[in-house]
Amino acid sequence: MLFNNIKQYIYELSEKFRSLFVSGNKQKQSPIDLFEHFHKLIAQNNIALEIMSDLGEKLSGEYVFDRRYIEESVIKLSDSLYKMIYHLDCMAPKKYVQLFSVYNRIRSEIDMELKGRVCIPDGDLVVPYTKIDDTLEDLVGGKNASLCIVGNVLGFNIPSGFAITTRAFELILRDGILADKIQEYLDQWQQDKISTEKVSAKLQNIILDAKLPDELAKEILKGIAELKKEVNKQNLTFAVRSSALVEDSEHSFAGQYSSFLNVPEAKVLDAYKRVVASTYSRRAMEYRREKGILESEIAMAVGCQVIVPARVSGVVYTLDAFNLEKERLVISALPGIGEKLVAGQREADRYFVSRTVPHSILGMDIVHKKDMLIAAGNQEEGLSQVKVDEEAADRPCLTSNQVLELAKAALQLERYFKHPQDIEFAFDDQNRLVILQSRPLNLQQSKPRLVCDLAKLAEKFPVIFEQKGEIVQEGVAMGKVCLIKDDKDLENVPEGAILVAHFSSPNLARAIKQVNGIITDIGSPFGHMATIAREFRIPMIINTRIATKLLHHGQEITLDATENVVYAGFMKELCFYNFTETKFGETYEYRLLRRILKKISPLNLVDPKDKKFSPSFCKSFHDLIRYIHEQAVRELIDQNYFTHSFVRKRAVKVNLSIPLDLVVIDISNKSDFNLQKIEPEELVSLPLRKFLKGVSVPGIWAREPVPVDFKSFVSSMTKTFSSDVADPRFVGQNLAVISPEYANISLRLGYHFTMIDTFATSNARDNYIYFRFFGGVTDDTRKTRRARLIGKLLAESDFFVSIKGDLVIGRLKGVSKEEILEKMFVLGILVAYTRQLDVQMKDDYKIDYFLSEFHNILMSLN
């Protein structure tokens, strides 16, 4: 549709590539070529965005896909991106050559992931816990990654710490002389020339005797120094724990590797070596051999955590697997540090708590606690045993508040990981709950009872509705309906509720940590709320149209977001069954997709005015796409060719009812510009038409200009012009570049600069609005206030907003054409309305005042 002949196009492409290497002169592109390339670039831009969106959608679990799909999508995406770079290069020859190397860099990172060897990603030797998310699992190991999700995503207290990565492991064991020695012994062992016992002892000694590489020792010591700062204490002791790579959840190396508690600072490096050496403990080597895991696949990361001064510690099983019908959690607790409890060597208090709200305590078994473990003092490693206070020995070591807090936390973890959990916890000396570890509860022995005849089960529970709307995140959730009619209702969402709302507004995210599931009438599976639900793995169905009508507040329902069915009543068996399935989230393909998407989707480059908006700061494909798009628009508009006859054929002034001088350039060749001026209704671009309609609403634009005091005026002159003189498009004509579905509008109204870029097609996935506003005639405070006002207005219209000083950027994506057009209309009003408002923004109350005035305007227009 955009190029007549594919062969011709490919020929042109190769010709252009050849000429890139040959010619050196910077020709000024003819406007004809410029527009052609721009239009093709935009087309590739949309293909790329669509592929990205498509990949992201697959995270929900509704789809079955394999590696090939990921590989092919990456190829198609790379292809579009490459073409975009090519077209940009054609628009501005030689100006953007560094883009090719940036592209290659990111592409090769993605290819490495796809090659799928137990890939030790490029990364640091030491990573602080605060910087770890679940995509770093291959770098920091499963235990560290899960713990950091519990802390960084779900917001629980976790020990402060850092991970010594698999990269460090590789450094020690795979590079250099150690590697050769180790390989030699492993070869002998594999050929049965040496017993497991002997080889294990030899390998462990090699590691223990080795000197850690300087850079690694330095990083670890630096990590410790950072921790001291973080917890504000100088005398620290540490837990040094293994966190090995596991390919999938079937291989649970629980208890195979070593951990050391209460390690003084001076001994951390040594403890690290001991943990690494345990990779080759006899038990571990035999286990791997039995399971067919290659030695080359093993990699060990280590966690170094500040010891929690535990008053009381223990373990929670979120499901009593031996007494399923009792539907309870089991908490075991004892005073002090819980190490022996975990190893099954100690008696502890037990609490049985109901899994359903309000989590009442169903029973307790209190034991006599004679002694407890605490950190050995005097810079000694390890724990020492002390006597428990006589009074405390027979009392429950947990208060009922603590039990309740634990139960809620444990179930939240179960909800997130979609599987019953085995959780290690402690209450520290400030009575804060700290989660030490959370891992899947082994349900093997209960499996037969958990699996049921689902077909029969479904017959017992009436279906309220099914197959309505779209699945955003699969899973099964039970809970009482919490119907949200307006934002105020979000303040009191009960724990374990199923949120039912009309719109899927980002505000719902406030309740994300308490809810079991979400159902909406309206919303986009590509919108922000959907992304959040997927991140927290909360089962969610969107766009049902009828949820708020058919469900009532307080109703007990079961949401099966995997099959898209809503049942009346609590289907506990379904929830249990759900626990036995390998979660999609635990499959290798899911993790691979997530890791690759991390190199593709995150947008780091948001603000074109930022000095970081440059190729060297591009971290993802999305960054590149954004950068190229923005630069293409600049290239198109920067070149001052208004005198050129070609442009005159495609450019025309718009006849507006307001005093706005706007030139429109149609790059699609669809307009008939034989006239000097054109009526807005005759413009081919729907989004622009709607925008202009909004801008021209009577009474908004033409209000009395407020007299500007001289001081404000001067301050604006020096600031806005000096920083923007490098932006030639804004020192001149108000301009709109359009096609029937596209519009790029840049306006300079007074001293404010607005840029809007939008696509409104029949495919929601391709649609977006990018809105950018800055400037003003007054001092910084007023301009900032106006920016905040605009930010609020945008957020209310479901834009994703970022504000920096007086710069506001709003983004909206993935919505229907109708919605885009509606928003363009609102943006038109907004731009007209805020035109000179900064002068009146004398104080913060004015923000609310103008907010409500704007609302009145919108309501009066409906």
């Binding site: 509704e62 789809y63 079955v64 394999d66 090939r68 092919e72 499959t587 290798y588 393909e589």
Partner: protein, 130 residues
């Protein structure tokens, strides 16, 4: 009469496919067996009649999907075959339908699509039995 369980045979060289399909179909009350090699699946099929076979087309082993389903159809014509493939083209689709395949799904597909295809197959089987 008519209360016996429908059994389904799945063949795909990518383990993830069976890993996802099996539990999903079992939830609906079907008996499911899975294989990664068509050769093994064919052996099993010769010993046990399956109502439905779901198979990938291109598998890199001695027996590829197209040959496999041809064999299946000749051994037991009443078995319904559903093809799932990442290499969906007009030609392979046409060829499959000529061989009597009931449905043809391009990967990646939604679980919903597979359920619809299986439901269609079950309808045909049940109506033929009456």
């Amino acid at each position: 009469m008519g209360k016996r369980r429908i059994n389904i045979l799945i063949v795909d060289d990518e383990p993830i496919v069976s890993k996802r399909l099996k539990p999903s179909l079992e939830r609906k009350g079907y008996d499911v067996e899975t294989f990664v090699r068509a050769v093994d699946a064919l052996d099993r099929f010769k010993n046990c009649p399956f109502d439905i076979v779901i198979t990938d087309l291109k598998m890199e082993e001695e027996l590829d999907g197209m040959e496999f389903l041809t064999e299946v159809k000749s051994l037991r014509p009443e078995t319904e075959v559903i093809v799932i493939t990442g290499f969906a083209t007009m030609e392979t689709a046409k060829e499959s339908f000529k061989k009597g395949v009931l449905d043809f799904l391009a990967k990646p597909f939604k679980l919903k699509e597979i359920h619809n295809a299986v439901a269609k197959a079950v309808d045909r089987i049940k109506s033929k039995e009456e």
